[in-house]
Structures are given as C-alpha cells and as structure tokens.
Amino acid sequence: MKLAYKDLIKFLGEKPSRELLSKRLFQLGHEHEIHGDIFDMELTPNRGDCLSLNGLARDLNVFFGRSEAVDIYEDIIDVLKIDFENLAPSDCPKISFLEIEIDKTIDDYKPYLENYLSAIGNKKTNLFTDISNYISYELGQPTHCFDRNAINNKLVFENKECNSTFKTLLGSDVVLKDHNCVFTQNSEIISLAGVMGGASTACSVKTRKVLIECAYFNPESIIGKSIKYNLISDAAHRFERGVDMESQEMVLRRFAKVVQDHAEIKSIKLKSFRSSNSPKISIPKNISKINKILGTNLKEIECLSCLRDLGFNISNDIEVPSHRHDIRTNNDLAEEVARVIGYNNIKNTPINLKKIIDDKSGCKVTQLESLLVNNGFSEVINFPFTSKNDKRSISIDNPLDSNRNYFRTSLMESLVNNLLYNERRQKDSIKLFEISDIYSKGSEINQQKKLGLIVSGRLGNNFNDFTKKLDKNYLNRILDNYLSEGIFKIIEISRNSLDTKKKDKIFYVEISLDDINALENQINKEKTINFISYKPVSEYPSSTRDFSFSIDDMSKVHKVINELEKVSENIIKNSYIFDFYKNEKTKIVKLGCRFIFQSNHKTLSDIEINAKVQEILNPLLIMDGVSIPGMDINKPFK
C-alpha cells in the first residue's frame, strides 16, 4: 500500500519528520520503504485494519496523537427505498447502500483529491469511482459504485454456483466457476462481490446518480478469488484481511461529504441491512500474565496506557475495538504492549540450556560425505520435481511446471543433468554426488535417504591421470574399502538418449543409506566451515592453450615446474602440468602444460590470450636448454 507522507501526518496530532515517522512505524511492526514523499507499506496479513491513513494513524496515536482530519456529511439522510435481498448473510452480515444524485457532472477535482491521484499514481476515471478509491485510501473500507440508472430491478446478493462469463468494469472477460459471492439483477451477475464490479452497471464521467454499496464481507468468502480470476483488486486485498463491521455508515457519510465538496447534492438516501452484530471481544485484565509473557516488570498503569492509546477500552476487562480482528488472548495483548514500549527496549534475560555434545563425525552420512569429498567429488543439491514417473511416484497437484509434476524416485536424472550441464561448460573430469530423501507411495508415503554419485571424463588433470578415464574400477576402488559387498551396483549410462556429443563413458551408483549399517573403515575428518569470499562465476567462454616444453638442461627442470605452478593471473582460470616424461635415450624431459583462460567481464580475443601466453612463457624460454618445439621466442606468438 502506497501512501503520501503529507496525507498521513494530516491524521496525526504532532507532525513528525519522515525519519521519525519511519522509525516509529518499524517499531510498531509496519515495514515500509520510502520513495520521496511516498511510504510504500508492507503490512502483515493480520493488520488489515492498518490499510489506510486512518488505520495507521490509530496505531501511531500512541506516539503522535490524532487529528480529526476527516469531515463527514452531518445532515439527516432520508431512508433509501431499495429492492434488495441478501441470500447469503453469513458471507455478508452487514451491508449499506447510499444513493446520491448530483446537479451536474464534474471534471475538476478539489486539490486533495487531485493530489491523491497524482501522488499514488492512479489514473483519473470518473468522480464517483475516484472518490471510492480515495475513501478506501483514507478509511480502509472499500465501496462499490453502481450507476443508479443501470439498477432497475431487484438487487440480490448471493453465493451461487457459477458457470458464466462476467465482463468486469475494466473490460476483461472472466469465466466464473464454482461458488462465488456475487450481486445479481434479473439473474445476471453485475458484480463479483468484494473483488470487482461489472461493466454493465459501472459509473462513467456522465454518471450523476449513483448507488454506493458498502459492505462487510466475510474474509473467507472473498479469499483467493482475485488470484483465481487474475484480477488485481485493492478491494479484495482489504476484504481478505478484514474490514471493520461497524464502519459502513460513517464511511458512506464521509463519501457523501467528499461528493458535497465537489457538487451540489440534489438527493441523498441511505439504507443498511444487518444480519448479525460484530462479536464483542473482552479479555480479562491480567497484567502479571503480560509481564510473564514478555519477561518484563511493567506497572499496570503503563500497560493499560499502551492499550488505551491503541484504542482498547479499559473497564474490568480489556475490550477489543471492532477493527482489531487479530486480538483474542493475553499473548496478543502482550504483543500490543511490547510494540508500544519497543521490542528493542525489552531487556534480554539469559536462559540456561545445557550444551549438547552432538558429534556427527561417526554418522554414516558424514562418513560418506567425507569419503567422497576426500576423493574429489563435489556435492550438488537438486530440486525434486521430474516428468519421469511410475506407479510409486507421488504426483504434485499444482506444479510450477506442468511437465514436472512428479516427485523424483531416483537421483539419477538430476545427476545426469548436472553432469551434462558441466560438460557443456568444458569440464572434462566430473565427479558429483547428492544425498537426499526420496519419497514414493505404497500403502503410505515411504521415505528413503539415498546417495547418488556420477562420474565421467578424465581421472584427473595431473600427469599420472590425464590420459586415464573415470570408470567402474575407479568407483570400485573407492567404495569397496568402505561398503559391504553387494550394497552397491555400478551402472553405465548410455549417451544415446542424451543431448550430448561427448564420448566419455558415464558411470552411476545409487545406494539406499538404509542398506548401510556403518562404513567398514572409519574416515577421520572433522567438518569445519570456511566462509570463503565467493567469486562470481564467469558467463563467458573459456579458451585452452597447451604447451609442450622440451628441457635438455636438467638443472632447469624444477625451475620450470616451479614457475609453471606459480602462474596466477586474473584471466587464467586454471593451469596444470598434464604430462611429464623423462626420455632416457635423448636425455630430455618433456613437460606438458595447460592454461585455461577466461574473463569475468568479456570474451577474450586470441590477441589478448596470446599476449598473456607470451608474457608467461618468455621468462621460461629465455633459459638455456628450455624450449617449446616449433615456437620461436623472437617472433610474436600466434
């Protein structure tokens, strides 16, 4: 809800600065952002009563007092004769109608109405609709304006089974389904109650005679309708959170006053229908209970003063005002008192809980994690939604993606996707694992913790492993030492059905942790966390350059290795020695080195990469006995 600072302070006794007002709003629990003169409020769903200038001012009264900012139409109003029937009084226990006729149509508004429209960013539509919106902004109670000339027959409020198209006053066609609270005339739906009126009875700039409906709708009768029908409705937002059942006549008198500010009223008539009274809530006065909840030692006079300033009536009991639907218990009252004195002003009191030695290092999940991490596996976490299903799959009724409307029963699909994702990003040695609960249905819902691990590509990037591949033997070597025979089965996943041109074999293992009693050998690794400073991942492509050094001066070999291992440049993502060979016959050592270049800011050009390569290699190639066959240090590198 957006509101203008200058409008809000009109409702307050004192005129606080924006900063002080903001501080007090936060203290009361009214989160907001400030954009110039506008306070963009984000109110909690229990505080529908604060969705207006008047509502917030009622809360802010505890700090700044109130100002009688609202004039109402004080004259006697004739009783309206209206043919109306309420067929659903439990959905609408209170409704009032005001009929007003003015002498002429109005184009020019008073400054307060004009300023409201421009400050909040609302478009000018017609006098009655604009006043309706303004009244909602001021007082929090939505009203709906019917063009009186379009209401020629009996008006009925009902909660009826619908299967028809309804044209809203904004011109959109909505197909109403199931039960909805509606206003009808001759069985035709003319308003989706509490949400939006219809086009057939809407006011226009030419309307001079209007029927204003002002109701209390049960929040549960309205909730979800605006989202169901994709209608953005300020009225629905307010009705869903609850309006004040006792405010309708006052609101309509305020409406009449604003009309009177703009035009001469030729006739005015009012009629209210009530099927039940708003419940009167009283809570026995119990200050010691409030102190017990808060951990404070407040005096009775302090507590009662807080509550009185918030509009509670204090007698033998504490009477809750009709607009506060959220107050029922002493815990609610304790929160009210705490809001006024300030949560941050309540003194902390320590509790004495005994420290627990919760050593998880021996548990099988921790042990498996350590085993895999020690062997170079990285853990992933995947969303559980999938298109794949079988008779055990649990279906999602309302998935985000209609193609992924099942809960996965295996980790394999997710891990294969993770592998392909990384292959597309030029990763050539991939070892991933995931440990997650998996759910399936039988006579009841079954829960099983599973480990999935997947490997493909090179065994490693060092000179020993570079030409070897991750395979079944590799997985067997890791798992055999720790898991009993028969617990795991390594499967090869065919690439035929996968969207990839890679040829490396993919191997996968899935193990139910229920099948593991304990790891056969313990892995000692204490889990510690190091909150590193993360570097954003580049979205730009990488480029690889391989170089083969030939070294015939043995005194230079370690120098070259040391220099290559030290290479660290902004645009080098990784570098490693992938080949090392001592030729006994020729007495030459061959070193293969790979540099992977990538920038965080752009796609690197060959010129930029080659310049960097030359900068790294030149100090090495000027050494006697060190060369890269085919490369001349004196010529620019291409």
Binding site: Q27, G29, E31, T44, P45, N46, P219, E220, I223, I227, K292, I293, L294, G295, T296, N331, A334, E335, A338, Y343, N344, I346, N348, P350, I351, L353, K355, I356, V373, N375, G376, S378, E379, V380, I381, N382, F383, I394, I396, D397, N398, N417, R425, K427, D437, I445, Q447, N462, F463, K527, I529, N530, F531, I532, P536, V537, H558, K582, E584, K587
Partner: protein, 241 residues
C-alpha cells in the same frame, strides 16, 4: 647414474571436492545450536495439512494455504512442507517439557523468481519450559547472531506476524552499507500450538525461531543471486573448500 634419475616429477596434489555450501551452512548452524543446547529432530518433507498448517494455528483461510502458495500432492492428501515447523510438532507430541529441538532441511513454496525458489532450506529451533519469556528469546537470538556475524553487529527486533507465535518478531542486522537486512523470524510459541501438542500452556511457554539457510549463506559467502546455489556448476561449487 644418469642425471635424469635426480629429476623428480611434479608433486601430485589430489584436490578434494566440496560439500554443497548450503549444507555446509546448515551444518554450521546446527552445530552452533547444539552447542547452545538444542537437539536435532527429523521429519518428512511430504506432510499432511494437519501437521503443516492446522497444528500450527494456520487457519484454513490463511493465504499461505492457497494453491498458489503451497504445493499439494496426491489430490490434496498431502503438502510439500512449507517450513520445518511440522517436525517440531511431531517431536513435541512425543516429548514432555523441558524440550529444546532444532529441525533443519528442505522446504517448498510455490515461488520461482530472481529472489525466490520453489525449494530452499530452513533451520528452526524451539525451546519449551516453564517461564520462557520474550526477554529470553531476545537474549538467545542476540547470542546466535553474535556467533554468526560478530559481537559488533547491530541488531533490530521488529513486530511481525506468524500464526504459530505470539508475540512475533522479525530480526534485522545492519549491513556495512547502512541498510537493515532481515535475518530471521521468531516469537513466543502461541499457546494454541502448545495445547495442540498436549502441552499445558498454563504451565509451560516456549520460544521459537527460524533461519533461512540460503539467506545466511548468501550473506556469509557474498553470493548475490540465490539461483547460483542450484545450478550445480562446478566452477561455483568447487570454490567452497
């Protein structure tokens, strides 16, 4: 002997892999809370409406129960839990105060945009005993946040609304840029919830709090986009050693 024999190959360093940063952060929080006296309890991600909503005083009309906010499963027989609080409900039903539990894990909400994901992680704590007060809650939350962000961190409590706590609060910390950042939600356990769990609310009271693991991880590691955690990109994951 050839002088080649004196040449040693480059040292092979087997780079370890990494645990996922979200699990690392979750485990860190759980360890921190266990050192404060909380015991971890476990429960399912696929829940009933009774445990996920009703027992927690979340009324049928509450917006969170709508199809656009909560994932329902198996023709509305179940929900994907929207918080880890039902784990605490299940545990309270089996225990007698004093109790101090943490529950952690995946939770699901029907969101998917730049700042919200359909699945994320929570760590929640609950402590029920005689005479537990809001002042106790404040002290505990201060201690947790001092452990997480250092003793100099500036902390702000402000009133909020959760159906299962009353009074309720959201807690912010002041960032280096001078902006308040929301860190966690907490409150005094609503007596209705205690009664639902057959705990005498006239005798006992409780405090409860919940932290978003992604939120803490983003702040501690400096990750700006929550979606990075779930791309499974090795360039991202291997940084968290």
């Amino acid at each position: 002997m050839s002088n080649l024999d004196n040449i040693n190959p480059p040292v092979i360093i087997n780079e370890p892999g990494t645990l996922h940063p979200i699990n690392q952060t979750k485990d860190y929080l759980l360890k921190l809370l266990s050192e404060m006296g909380f015991t971890e309890v476990y429960g399912p991600e696929i829940e009933t409406e009774e445990f996920n909503f009703d027992m927690l005083n979340i009324k049928k009309s509450h917006p969170a129960r709508q199809m656009h906010d909560t994932f329902y499963a198996e023709s509305k027989k179940n929900v994907l839990r929207t918080h880890t609080s039902p784990v605490q409900i299940r545990s309270m039903l089996k225990s007698k105060p004093p109790i101090a539990f943490t529950s952690a894990g995946k939770v699901y909400r029907k969101d998917d945009d730049a700042t919200h994901l359909p699945m994320f992680h929570q760590v929640e704590g609950i402590y029920v005993d005689e005479n537990i007060t809001f002042a106790n809650l404040k002290d505990l939350i201060h201690k947790i946040l001092y452990e997480l962000f250092g003793n100099d961190v500036e902390i702000r409590f402000r009133p909020s609304y959760f159906p299962f706590t009353e009074p309720s609060a959201e807690v912010d910390i002041l960032s280096d840029s001078g902006k308040w950042l929301e860190i966690l939600g907490c409150g005094i356990v609503n007596p209705i919830v205690l009664d639902n769990c057959s705990i005498d609310s006239n005798k006992y009271s409780g405090l409860a709090f919940g932290l978003g693991v992604e939120r803490i991880a983003m702040l501690k590691y400096g990750v700006n986009d929550i979606r990075e955690f779930y791309k499974s990109n090795l360039d991202f994951l291997t940084q968290f050693k």
